[in-house]
Each structure stands twice: as C-alpha cells, then as structure tokens.
Point group: C2
Chain length 744, copies 2
C-alpha cells in the first residue's frame, strides 16, 4: 500500500508520527499515533481507555476497579484534573492527602503499577457536571470582567469565560504552573504512565451551546487599532477600502468595524460579515488552544497533546486549532447518542450513525486515527436509560465506521467532593462499575469488545473498502453556524451540509454504496481515478477546491455535482472556476410548484427540497434528467477529456423514498463498478474493513424492529462472499470475520 | 357507576348521545357515540376503520380488499373525497365512471354491500399528499386574493388558503352543493353505510406548520369597523378605553388596532396582544368549521360530524370549533410517531406516548370517546421504515392510554390519478395491503388487534384505574403557540405546558403512578376527594379554575401546586384568587447559581429547570423542602380545612433522575393510598383498564432494549395480582387479561 507508506513517512518528516517513541527510560512501552493507528511498543494497538476520576472514585477501590478495566481489555485510563478542586481558594493549592480526592500523583502511580496508561485532562475547563464547569467559583464570581458575553454585552452563563481574556489567561497560567509539572513528571518518556495530555475540553461549546459566540470587548479588542478583531480583519482584507467594498460600508479604519448580530438578513454582505466574525471567533479558540499547548510544552509535558471536539457536528470547527497547535497534536471527538430526554433520539439511529461517520471521516482526513475521546458509557441522566444493549450497538457502529481508539465516559465514578457536583451527590453515572463496585451488564459489553479487539490487532490498521468518495468541505461543515436557509445566495452552505448528510449520503448508504470521504482542501484524492466522487456544492467553494475538481475532471475523473455550482470562493468573493470549466451554464431554481423530476431513468423522484434547472446545458452535454412539467434539464453529463465526466444534478432532497436510493444507484452504477457490499435491504447499512488480507464485514440494524436482508460482499483480492439471508435483531450490529476462512 | 350514568343522561339531554340511532330505514345497524364509547346497534363496539381511497384503489380490487379488512376485524372504511379530482376545471364536476377514480357512489354502495360503514371526508382540504393539499389547482392559481398570508402580507405557501375568505367560501360552497347531497343519500339513517362525515382536515395545520397564522386582510377585516378582528376585540374588551388600558395604547377605535408580529418581546402587553390574535385566529377556524357544518346539515347530512386534530399537540386548539359546531360533533386526533427523517424519533417512544396520552385524555375531557382518526399504517416516506413491529407497539400503546376507536391511515392504496400526487405515481404508502394486493406483515398486526378487540367488547367501556389526577388546562395546552421562554411573567404558560409533560407527568409515570386528567374548566372533578390532584400552574389561570381549586381545597381535597401560583386570569388580567386563599405568599425565582434542593426527604434533587423560593411561607404552613444553600423554603404544606391540604412546590424540572421519581412518590404517597399498579422498573410504564369486573393490564417497553421488572396491580374490588418478574422485548407492549381468572 504505497499511499499509506508515503503518508507515514511524510508524517514522520512533519514530526507528527510516533510521538514519544524515543523514550529510553520508559518502564511502560512507548505509545504513539500515526495517521492510521495507535501503536504500543511499535505495534498497532487499539487505544482502549476508560474515564476514571481519582477525585470521585474512593482510593480504596482504585486497584480493584483498574484491574476490572484491564480484564476488559483496557490499556489506558483518563481523568479530569479539576481546577476547582485543587485551587479551592485563590492561590491556595491542595494536592495529595489520604482521601484520594486531591491525590492526582497517587492515582498516576497506581495506574503505572497496574500497567495502564493515563490521559491527563487538566483543563482549564472540565465540564464533567461540576460547578462552573470545573472552574473555581472564586474565579467566576470575583472577576466578572472575564465572563464571555453576547453581542449586547450580556453574560452568556455562569461559568462561561472568555478564553483569551488576559486575566483569565493569567489565572489559568498559575493553575498550569502547578499541575503541568506534576503531569510532566509522569509522562511515558520519563517512565510514567501519562501517554496523552488534553488541553481544555470541548472548546467553543461553552459559548455556542448557550446561545452566543463570545463578544467580550477586552478579549476581542473592538475599537482598538491593535485589537484582535481589527487585526484579524486587516490580515484578511489588507486595506480598509477592500473591506468597505466587500461590506458595502465606509469605515475609515479597521478599529471602527463592529460585528453584526446573528442571524442577519441573508444578504451577501451580512453573510460575509457573519462568516468573518465566526471564523475570527474560531481563530481566538485556536489561539487559546495554542497558548495552553505552549505552556504545556514549556512546563515539560512531552506527550502528544489532544483535544476532544464537543460532538460529531463540531469537528470542523477545530481546523484553526489543529493548525495553530501544530505537530504533536491530535484531535478526537466525543460521541454521545443521548444525554437527556430533549435529545432528538433516545437510542442510536441511522441519523446518529451518519453524524458519527462524518466525524470519524473528518478526523481521518485531518490526519488522525479517528478517536472517540468520550464514548458514552452510562449517562448523567438516569432517564432516558442508557442501556447496555444500545451502547453495544453504538460502539460497534463507531467501529464499523472507522473508530481507532476510544475513552469510555465514564468507566466508574463515586461521590462528588462536597460542593462541587451539579447533578447528584453520588456521580454514579450508571457506569459499567457502580459506586459500590457492582459489575453491571455494560461492563460485559465493554469486555467482550475489548477482548475482540485484542484478538484482532490487524483491525487497528483496517480501512473501509470503498466504491465511491464523497468530497468533504470543512468550510461547508461549519457553515450552518452562520449561514443557512434562504439567503441572497442561490444555495447556502449550511443547507448544503444538511443535504450532504440527510440527502446524498443517506441515499448512498441506502443504495448500498460504500463511501469514503476525500478532502476538498487536499490534493491527495485527485490522483486516484478509480472511483467516482460525489461533490455536494453550495454557492461557495474555495478557489483551490474548484481547481482541484477541474483538474480531476480533466485527467479522467468522474464527478457528480449537486445541486448547484459554486459562484463564490471560500471568502464569499465571486469565483466561478468550476462553472467556467463547465461552459458557464445558467442554473436557476426551478419555479414550478409541482415539478415532476425524472433522473437517470428513475421516474418521478420526490422533490422534498429544491430543484434547479439548466435552460441551456453546455454544448456537447447530454441531458439525462428533466422536470417533465417544464421540460427543462435537471441532470446533464459532460465529457471532460481523458475519460473524465461531470454529471450535474440540479436536485436537492431529504432521503425519504426508494426512488432516492434508486436514483443514486442509477447515477453512479456506470462509474462505480461492482459494489463492495450489496445489501438487499436499504435499512441494513454495512461497512467492510480490511487490512492485508484480513476483512471484517459489519452489518448494522439501527432500528427498533428486526430486519432481514441478503448480504454479499467483495473484499479486495478475494472472491465475493455471499452471506445469504441474514436476520438482525432490533438495534444490533453483526459482524463477520472474513479473515479466518469462515466464508470463502 | 353513578358518575357514568349521570354523564350519559346529561349528554342525551344535550343531544350528543346516540346520534343516528333513530334511523328506522337503516339496512345497517345504527352507529352512535357517547362520551365513553362507540355503539353499533346499541352495543358498545370498537370503531375499527381503515382509510381506503376509492380514487386510488382500482375498482376491480375493492371487494377483495374490503373483505380482507373485514377479516381483520374492521367495521368501517374512510375515504377522502378530493375536490381537485371532482372539479378539475372550475364549474365542471365529474362523478361516476367505470374506472373508479370518480365513482364515490359506487364505492359507498360496495362498502354497504360488504357491510362496512363509511367515514366520508369531503374537505374542502384533504392533504393526503395531493397537489395543493387536495384543493383544485385553478382555485389556488386563479384567485390569489384568497391565499393565506403572513403578517407582512406574504403568501404562506401554495395551497394554503384563508379559510373564511368570502371567495373561498363561495367556491367551497359550490363544491359542497355537489358532494354533500351525495353523502346525504347514503347515510345510515337512509339505509346507507355513511356513519360519519368529516369537515375539512387537520384545521390550522396549513397555516401553523408553514410558519404563520393567517393574516389575510379581507378575511380578518383589519381596519374595518365591522371587520372580524375589530369585532372580536370589541367583544373581548367592550370599550376601546379598556383595550388601551390593557395594551398600553391610545387607539381611538377598534378598527385601528393592528396585530403585532410573533414572537414579541415578552412584555405583559406583547403576550396579551399575541394571545388575543392567536385566540382570534382560532375563533376564525371555529367559524369556518361551523360554516361547513351548517352547510352539511342544510344539505341533508345527518351523521355525526367529525374532525381530526392535526396531531396530539394540537387537540387543545379546537375548543372553539367544538363549541361553535355544537351537538352532533366529535373531535378526534391524528397520531403519527414518524413521517420522515426530520421527526424527532424514528420509532414510538415514551415521549410520543406522553403526547398521545395528553391527546386522548384531552379528548375524553371534551366529552368524546378518544379516537385516533388517522392512526399511522405505513408512511408517505419509505425511510425511516414504518415497521409492523413498531406499529404494533404504537397501536397497543394508544389502546393502553385510552383509545376507543381508530382509522388506519392507510389500509390500502394505489395509483394517484395523473397530475394529482405530490409524492410518487403509486401511492403505496407501505400499507398493510400493497398495490398488487400483497398482504404485508402489518396486516397481520392489525388483524390480531381487530380480533382481540372483537373478543373483548367490554374493553370499549373500560377506563383507566387511577390513583391521582393531573389538572388539565386547555388554555395552557395551546399557550406555547404565543408565549414561551423568558417573559415579564414569572412563568410562561408555554413553559408550564412543557413542564407538565416532560417534568411532572413523566416523573409520575416513572414513579408508577396511574394518573387520569381532570378538566380545570369543568366542575366534574371537584366533588371527588378520594385521589389527590396535581396542578401545574403558570402565571396565568382562569378565575373560575382558581376558584375551583380553592373550593376543592376547602372541602377536603389535596392538591400539589407547582412551580408558581397564578397571578393573572385567562385573559392575562391580574387575578390572585388562589394565591389569596393561600395567604398571598411571595414567591420568587431562586437567585442561587448552584442551589441544592431537597424535597419531601429526597436529598439534592437535580434542578435542570428552575426553582422558586418562598421567603415567608403562610402562617401555619409546614416547610417540607428547602434550598439547602440559602435555607429558603421550596416546598411547604398548608392544611385547608375538612382534611384538605395544599402542597406548594416551587420547583420545575425535566425528568432525568431517579430523584425526580422518588420525589413524586414522596410527595404523593401520603395522599394516594396503595398504587393501582406497581412497576419496579421506572422504564416500564403501565395502564390498568377496567369495566364491570373485567380488567386488562398493559405494560409498555418503549425502548430499543429489553426491559425487566416486577409488576403488581390492584384492580378495584379484587385482590392484588402479583405478576412477578416480567421481561419485555425491545419496543413491545404486553397485556394481561385479568378478567378470565388467569391470575387471582
């Protein structure tokens, strides 16, 4: 596998690969990550971690419960290190002691003795159902100036601070000066068990989830020549005249520019200004993360640094963070399917699987082994009940979709230190091991999976076998934060991102396609012409991305473009590279009230989104789909040289009908070759993961009813395997190990 | 059962009961409804209907499929009668013909021959995935003035008209003059099979679902002395001075008053104005319904008239309609749990069961046998798949919660007449009987239930055995349309309605309570002092309702009041009758950031909503719950004479923790006596339905994982029945018939 070897080498060159491997003094074998896997002692190994908070679990139970996790196949523990517990009074730090609550070092030493790695999570933020999300109360109440505020200057919530406020950074630095040296003492390179150190927690959540970005004037520097916001705009626009042109304003300098309230009116200018503020806000998050990372390095922490995205839908927010922290950093994501009755669904579903898939693929595209830093294990809510059965299905679904490591949140809990817990006195969390050391059914689920993974180290290297690729645009995947619904643009990027997930990708999976994602922002995918690319477009796409698609098409690639063509670049400035290449067709929203859309031979496909007509398709284009009412083209194909072909599909849908998956099949069948996996039941989704002749086929039933289907798969380099008719129990994932010659 | 006999008599007096029974010429036995049940030929019988659209099902298949439904226990069919099909060109009506598409009469005659009743649904609206929701295209395109519009005058959507626009009514009247005599010809009293006639369809949905109430100026009469809106306000306020006082305005007459846009700013005045417009809008819906009903009567339709609420959450919107149409009218509701992937959940859930329960109880309180006029049977979407297993569980859940009749939407379908269907050419709907007459698993589910009901006619009369009552305020149950979240009031009625469902009621069911609802607006519940009443309050409650609670308390009733006391009446004018009776305690929102609430002996109950403190509880009150941080009272009890007692609980939550159900148990245990049903697993909800010594116990597992629990029940007048440990498969409802001495 040349591509893979190349990647490994290039990463090593970038200083990312095999971090910590040079440790000579280590009592515990080195831990590392490459872009494909975790390694322990140089061998690929699944990182199987469990959250185990020393400040909650009674010291007397530490060894016993750690042993239980080892028995379950665990090789790592994670713990928050709550600032509020260790600095209860400003400037007075408390560590050690007999009760265990403050004995971080004792915990780390015990983990080492038990042969378990440790992920240290010193904050500053913790969340973890602690008061002020884990910040000290004195910090939040004595220093109101560091609170994050909305655009009107109103505090967002108690315990939501402005990350880059100088006073907050000063206090956080003092906390880090205490805790980071303690972490540094026990890293793997120094013979300790600490393998990873996490900076902060679910960044940006503390603002976005509670209704607003941060507009703290001191942090953002509104009105100041050298303020962050004016400086950011200056770096973007260079000259105030250019900004005035793009904003339709007449500012005399950058310091005078003020952000506008969300949501705006949907004009091009409003969307541009809101995108600017949103990206600026993310740049401050990146700056904050890089600041913390710098301190950690200065204070001697030589483990990889990690961060956990606040959920599958937030992964794309951290691009700037990843760039600013640089080598030695690894992003993962937290994957919960339910935490209380207001969540959309009580149990895992195909919709939550789509979200997890997008998250894991985005992480892979960023160059990380896809890792779930918080994998639900119990819940802060007793109701809806987090059942062992649903959890098992969720774990297997994540594994099927690419997960290479996880940390169960939580493996076991205990009493909250007095005056710190937001929920209950006992933080039991319905964890696999209860507060009285009781072993719950969820433990057996985690043990079964842990031992299964131990028996199959090759799975850590396995990748999904794919027969088509979805082009993933990180810019689009965060656009719904500032731009969705109707606007002056033909098609907003937020709506395109919804269509990507609920339309094209869902229909693709129902049509038995095996998709992998490829990164619009990278050249990696352009060379490979063997599988077609599905490019969901909004009115905006980076100039470089448009150029890549053109290059791909010119050199023999096949691309499905839907439902519009971009007319603006990533900064929302006019840019029609892709459209120009396709002879600048005029694409208009279909004005028909009741269109009748027939595409690629599939008659009357339900339009439950929108359709776009091309009155005059490009010269030489072949019309393949029309609105039968108006007769206008909806789908056309253009040969682009060297065997290349573009199909434009002016159609956006929410997957609902058999016709939608039949349309996907019809559109792609001439390009995709024999499907990797064929499932006769569109409700049974599959994933075939292979590595060096080994294969594991996953079949997922994420419904509350049993499902049946005929399953056939075609692992690379092997004969097709026909599994025949299979029945799956409600909410279950089955797998077939095709490595051992079980089927031939 | 004196209460029941009394009710029947009083209803007969009101002309509601046994409608149609006097029919002498009938070939088919009379059908009637009382407030407790349906009757066929004078005997209680479940109304088991299936949607069977003659314009879709090929005529050649009518008899065969009707027979299949009869075999399944069916006794009735329903059909839309689409205006757009029968008046394709304005003024040209098409009926009859060989193909069946236009042969309404042929269909009715065939049903009669097969011994099946018919529910006729002539619109004007149909929805049913038809173009323009079943209205003729010419009507919607040639007469733009009758479109419903938002407050800015923008049309809401194609096919959304203003119900009471004179031109729309003129056209609708012409349609009714054609179709109503045809219906009248075949009513049961005249020897035909038509037992019920539906007016319009899911009223108000066509506006509310698409983003706005109707503000059509012609319909509403803005600016006109005798316009509907000015007249409505005049009837409410009498004098413009009074309105100005309540609105803080200085209008010179009612014609000058304009509605304000939703949502407002949350001031008392804004909420009052929005409530006024919302209630006014509902009055126009009621007027429209009454107009249609009047025409139907004039044109000879002597069946009961019915209407289907657009969903469980809309039932309370139709109070005005019920009043205006008057005797001989019956409201039911449509109960779907999923129709496409954007619905909150793919399958039935405890949350959807709560919604169904509220709907069925509201219908019962309105004086109707709770009926589901559209019970999901298949789906307009192939995905998420509407499985037979989930449907079975949903049907049983509705039966457990009080359903006395239903119409499956749909039993069987077929091709849409050309140019009429919005979704697919073939309206298969994944129905129990496919378009090729294939029998699907869902048919067996419906047949099993149909035969089960036939064997147990007593079940039609059974009511839930209850051990506590929830006071239901229709005004509150529709308030979230105009008043929710933070406002100048202490606690909005929309939030109170959410707390009712997601907090108090959910915790009650998890605590093994068996609740029934009682109607705040009625005197019926005041006499019965045997079970306690839970009264969820907002800042607004009708004066009469407040008086009823006071009367109940004075005469020995026990009431739990939460989380505030009303300070305004139903018209949002100051009114503190209830508070005054409780010695006018000052109740304030708890300012503590991290309160620690202990209630009725349950320590540290999670506050995930809000809490309210009483700094000085009434003289003689006993404090039973406090915020331990501030020491202020959260819960106190006051004896009210004659054994009466009020507990005030200043606490609002979303059910999440074991502590929430333990709190409900602790609060009510001293009042409720032995529980009707005890389930040891809070995730297994139950309902015990009894009548004259017969009992059926339902146990519901609405989760995707199996559940176990110990179940014990206490049917009235019998020994307790201990069912021991029971296991329920995922997404299943079990029942035990305790009538036959299976258990003793």
């Amino acid at each position: 596998m040349n591509r893979r070897e190349f990647a490994k080498l290039s990463l090593a060159g970038a200083g990312l690969a095999l971090y910590g491997r040079s440790a000579l003094a280590a009592k515990m074998p080195a831990v590392a990550f490459t872009r494909h896997h975790f390694e322990i002692d140089g061998k690929p190994a699944y990182l199987y971690s469990g959250e185990f908070d020393y400040f909650r679990v009674p010291k007397a139970d530490w060894r016993r419960r750690m042993q239980l996790f080892k028995d379950a196949g665990g090789n790592c523990l994670a713990t928050y290190i709550p600032w509020l517990i260790h600095e209860p009074v400003e400037g007075k730090f408390v560590f050690g002691g007999e009760d265990g609550v403050h004995d971080f070092e004792g915990f780390v030493q015990t983990a080492a003795e038990m042969g378990l790695y440790v992920i240290a999570r010193p904050g500053p933020y913790q969340y973890s159902e602690l008061h002020y999300n884990g910040l000290p109360g004195w910090l939040c109440t004595n220093y109101p100036e560091l609170q994050s505020v909305d655009i009107k200057g109103k505090a967002i919530m108690a315990g939501s601070v402005s990350y880059i406020h100088p006073l907050f950074l000063e206090k956080a630095h003092r906390w880090f000066r205490q805790i980071c040296p303690l972490i540094a003492k026990y890293t793997v390179s120094k013979g300790g068990p600490i393998a990873f150190t996490q900076l902060d927690n679910e960044l940006a959540g503390i603002h976005i989830w509670f209704g607003s970005l941060d507009y703290n004037p001191d942090s953002m520097g509104f009105g100041k020549q050298d303020g962050r916001y004016p400086s950011y705009l200056k770096a973007s626009y260079g000259d105030i005249t250019e900004l005035n042109k793009m904003y339709g304003t007449s500012y005399t300098d950058f310091a005078a520019v003020k952000p506008i309230a969300m949501p705006g009116t949907g004009t091009v200018i409003d969307v541009r200004r809101q995108k600017d503020y949103f990206e600026f806000y993310l740049s401050t998050v990146g700056e904050y993360g890089a600041t913390l990372a710098g301190w950690m390095r200065e204070m001697g922490i030589d483990t990889p640094l990690i961060h956990n995205s606040g959920g599958p839908k937030m992964v794309a927010l951290y691009m700037d963070l990843v760039k600013k922290v640089g080598p030695g950093f690894m992003l993962g994501s937290d994957h919960y399917y339910n935490l209380d009755q207001n969540w959309a669904q009580n149990n895992p579903t195909p919709q939550s699987a789509i979200d997890a898939f997008c998250s894991l693929e985005a992480l892979r595209l960023m160059g990380f082994p896809p890792t779930v830093w918080e994998m639900c294990s119990g819940s802060a809510s007793d109701w809806p009940p987090p059942t062992a059965e649903d959890s098992k299905t969720w774990y297997r679904t994540n594994l099927a979709l690419g997960m290479k490591g996880c940390n169960y949140y939580i493996f076991t809990g205990g009493p909250n230190p007095p005056g710190t817990g937001q929920t209950t006195d006992i933080y039991d969390y319905i964890a696999p091991i209860g507060v009285k050391n009781e072993i719950r059914p969820l433990y057996e689920v985690q043990k079964e999976l842990g031992l299964f993974l131990k028996e199959r180290p090759w799975l850590e290297d396995a990748e999904r076998e794919y027969d088509c690729r979805f082009l993933f645009d990180f810019n689009m995947a965060r656009a719904d934060n500032y731009w969705k619904g109707k606007s002056a643009f033909q098609f907003s990027a937020g709506d395109a991102w919804e269509f990507f997930r609920k339309g094209a990708l869902t229909s693709g999976l129902c049509a038995s396609l095996s998709p992998a994602f490829c990164n619009l922002d990278s050249d990696e995918w352009v060379e490979d012409k063997t599988t077609p690319v599905i490019a969901v477009c909004s009115s905006s796409m980076s100039a470089a991305g448009q150029q890549r698609i053109v290059r791909f098409l010119k050199s023999g690639g096949r691309v499905l473009l839907a439902p519009v063509l971009p007319a603006y670049d990533e900064n929302l400035r006019p840019c029609t590279i892709l459209s120009d290449f396709l002879e600048s067709p005029v694409i208009e929203e279909n004005p028909g009230t009741f269109p009748r859309i027939s595409i690629a031979g599939v008659i009357n496909v339900l339009q439950n989104g929108a359709s776009f007509i091309t009155k005059t398709p490009p010269k030489g284009a072949e019309v393949l789909g029309v609105d039968e009412i108006s007769g206008h083209a909806i789908e056309w194909s253009l040969k682009t040289g060297g065997g290349g072909e573009a199909i434009f599909l002016g159609f956006r849908w929410v997957h609902a009908m058999r016709e939608h998956n039949r349309m996907m099949t019809a559109l792609l069948s001439k390009w995709a070759g024999p499907l990797k996996v064929v499932s006769s039941n569109p409700n049974l989704w599959t994933s075939l993961r292979s590595w060096q002749g080994n294969s594991l086929l996953f079949v997922m039933n994420l419904w509350s009813a049993p499902m049946e289907g005929e399953i056939l798969c075609r692992p690379a380099g092997k004969q097709a395997v026909n599994l025949g008719r299979q029945t799956l129990e409600p909410m279950s994932v089955k797998f077939w190990d095709l490595s051992k010659g079980m089927h031939s």
